[in-house]
Amino acid sequence: MVSSGKNAWLAHAVLMLGLAVVLFPVYVAFVASSLPLADILDAPMTLVPGQNPQPITARRSLWERVAACRFEHRGR
């Protein structure tokens, strides 16, 4: 009764748009985490995640990198 066919479509479209706005920067951060620095700084940054998830520091898992970042950045 309260929301009928066409209105429901419009409401869902607005919600989907809002969801895209909120999630897009998170997705960009996710993609950036899988790219080498040069690709992140490339003018239109690609929105496709990198082929090799961790090309920057070779042969390290994501968790090792997160743990390592905490200490490596201290030294700056």
């Binding site: 009764m1 309260v2 209105n7 809002g18 706005v21 909120v22 920067p25 960009v28 950036a32 992140i40 700084l41 003018a43 239109p44 940054m45």
Partner: protein
């Protein structure tokens, strides 16, 4: 300008806008505001969703049966019943804008260009920790506290009067 935000700069350039938040004061402030607002969207969404779900469906249906259109139902029933939620979010968001935007400013502009984005919390930190003017920093933090308390008191005095708790 080598930064991950260069992509958006290139895109805006193609659209005919010279986007450079490291040089343009208004653009820097706009960027900080957009980022801070974006960060709060999910929080506000959650509270508004809870507020909407707390409204009894029977009220809306009764109004519909009485012939009230969608606009009337919103302004006469949903909006007043959301007032407590909206008021809470207003107070919380204003406090957020005064204090918690520090991290965004520190990461994006460091208060620049030419202090365009140096809001009071940022100045309190800069003068105290970087400038080592501890007395001035402490005084400014007290002023900041007074401003926020006054703003909150004003909201409770003049806006909460129009909020009815069910």
């Amino acid at each position: 300008m080598r930064s991950p935000l260069r992509s958006s700069r290139v895109a805006l350039r193609r659209a005919g806008l010279d986007w450079n938040y490291l040089l343009n004061r208004r653009q820097a402030l706009l960027l900080v505001i957009l980022a801070a607002a974006w960060k709060q969207v999910s929080y506000n969404f959650l509270f508004f969703l809870a507020g909407l779900q707390a409204i009894p469906k029977t009220l809306v249906e009764a109004a519909a049966l009485d012939g009230a259109g969608a606009h009337r139902r919103f302004w006469r029933i949903v909006f007043p019943l959301l007032a407590p939620t909206s008021f809470f979010l207003l107070v919380v968001n204003i406090v957020y804008a005064f204090f918690d935007t520090f991290g965004i400013i520190h990461n994006v502009t460091q208060g620049g260009p030419a202090r365009a984005t140096e809001i009071l919390v940022y100045k309190v930190w800069y003068d105290g920790v970087v400038g080592l003017d501890l007395g001035g920093s402490a005084a400014q933090s007290a002023i900041l506290m007074a401003i926020v308390i006054a703003l909150t008191a004003l909201q409770f005095r003049y806006i909460e009067r129009r909020v009815h708790y069910a």
